[in-house]
Symmetry: C2
Subunit: 325 residues, 2 copies
């Protein structure tokens, strides 16, 4: 298809610049403590640019004993726009630190995470759900320096999201609220944190604890959940996310009811279709971009041997009041 396309090596650059390969390496990696005159440096950089030289990751990794690859493991959660915003910011922010982000969707038939990690020789692996112990151990054994699970306490604290939802409903005068849980097991930890926030607020305001109800993405299933809530005099529900909130809206329609009069609904995420729902969905938006940038900082620090401190990483979540609650 193409001519063999001879790869340019640092030796080629060295030859072109009239210096040794060592010098090329020193210049390109900007090694401190080395006295390279500006002129030589310029010649090397120029030659590298002209030849379009790009060091081979495998050789560099092998020699240096550590790669600059960070692997992000996504475990089947829906990639909402805010998640991809997160990924993009995470990636760019890592890039400015000389690190390269690649992601891997962990699927059943796919390669085990530790194999992927070994294949790209990742020096850090970040996940959005806790890793199970064997996996974490295997990753370490496979030479990963930093294994980091961004849990539900990650930015914004998921609990805070639940609190915002609940406060809004209570502020609007609702006295008995419900919570729509996802059916998928994958995001349990996030869901529980959010629900926890809701329950906290209920307790603080002295109302009955929220009535949690798993809710499928289907109007029939959602209609059942709606019926259950209404039986228990629930007048407003917080949904785990916008998709589920929209399902609740559909469930209401199935009964000939509407939000917010018959049941108020608050989502989370502000996905694009949220504002297009009938009625437009009141929801919680949060900027994961900032969190991604912050996480990159944390990862870079961790790889430098520093401490890994996750804590609160970004501006708080924001309530968007639209029609549904």
């Amino acid at each position: 298809m193409k001519p063999p396309a001879k790869r340019i090596t640092s030796t080629d650059v060295a030859r072109a610049a009239g210096v040794s390969q060592t010098t090329v390496s020193l210049v390109l990696n900007n090694k401190p403590g080395q006295r390279i005159p500006t002129d030589t440096r310029r010649r090397v950089l120029e030659a590298a640019r002209q030849l379009n030289y790009r060091p081979r990751g495998s050789a560099r990794t092998l020699a240096a004993g550590r790669s600059n690859v960070v692997l992000l493991a996504l475990s089947g959660m829906p990639i909402s726009p805010s998640v991809s915003g997160f990924i993009e910011h995470f990636g760019s922010s890592l890039a400015t630190r000389g690190l390269t982000l690649v992601t891997h969707l962990v699927a059943s038939g796919a390669r085990a995470l530790e194999d992927v990690s070994a294949a790209v020789d990742a020096s850090a692996v970040v996940g959005l759900e806790p890793f199970d112990e064997p996996t974490a151990e295997a990753l370490h054994q496979a030479g990963v320096d930093l294994v980091l699970a961004v849990g539900a306490d990650f930015s914004p604290p998921q609990k805070e999201i639940g609190r915002l939802q609940a406060r809004h409903l209570l502020d609007r005068g609702h006295r008995r609220i419900g919570y729509a849980l996802p059916e998928r097991q994958a995001f349990r930890s996030w869901a529980e944190e959010r629900l926890h926030g809701v329950l906290e607020v209920c307790a603080e305001r002295g109302v009955d604890p929220a009535v949690a109800q798993p809710t499928g993405l289907d109007d029939a299933e959602a209609a059942q959940a709606v019926a259950a809530w209404r039986r228990q005099s629930v007048t407003g529900v917080c949904a785990y996310n916008d998709e589920i909130a929209i399902a609740v809206l559909a469930g209401l329609r199935a009964h000939g009811l509407t939000a917010p009069d018959d049941l108020a609904v608050v989502g989370v995420d502000d996905i694009p279709v949220a504002r297009l729902a009938a009625p437009p969905l009141t929801t919680i938006a949060f900027d994961l971009g900032a969190a991604g940038a912050r996480l990159a900082e944390v990862v870079a620090a961790g790889l430098d041997g520093g401490d890994v401190e996750l804590s609160v990483l970004a501006p708080g979540p924001q309530l968007l009041v639209r029609g549904s609650a």
Copy 2:
């Protein structure tokens, strides 16, 4: 955080099995033409398993001169469930062929694709949009053997999707139809293919060409598009995807109109909220999983020096008739 966690090398395995490192390599890579007695083979495999040995990708790549990493470049398109299904199948299917898939979200501030590719030393790079010439060239120069852009003729042929949408509307008696284009430039090539299919059907059936109209994800914008269509006596519209279709539904509501009576709407993708729309969205579903598996075949063949033949890769798209058209 953790003890240095000494990495196990193939030499460690060799020592444990009482053979040379060469033998370990031969056994683990299942080199044909080598006569390794079953017993020795067993000993090596056992030792590798016990030590939990995993070859370092960088060393392997460097020595072999080619990696087993395939890089999938996603350029800011929304990751709908069917796309992630595609990725998962693609990944697993590559895995059975000894290849490892990682993906990279191409974002503005992020690392250039060729840098990412060099960092992981990918031997194939696959994209869902055509690469521009400089990028493709740079990838080749960076040592990528196979650069593959899965275009709009990929499975299912995007044109076919447009045809299905249009046929459905015409079969229902609509005589003048519209097309809702995405605003984002990123998926122009896909959008054009789909629109092309719609126009073909219009021509075949002898009705006026579909009226194309960019449609934003916002009820105000969508309402404008709706007004424009109605001015031109359009009674049914095909949308580029479900999100846009849902926007059109919202635009209708803004005018106090409803689908399908005032304007029929057909989407594409069957995203989870499609069935939850009011009215439930008639849409086109297609199985990208099969396409992913097929694509893996193509990539594997391409890396073996075979020919790269994309053509039709999967079962055709399927019309799901729900309430909106």
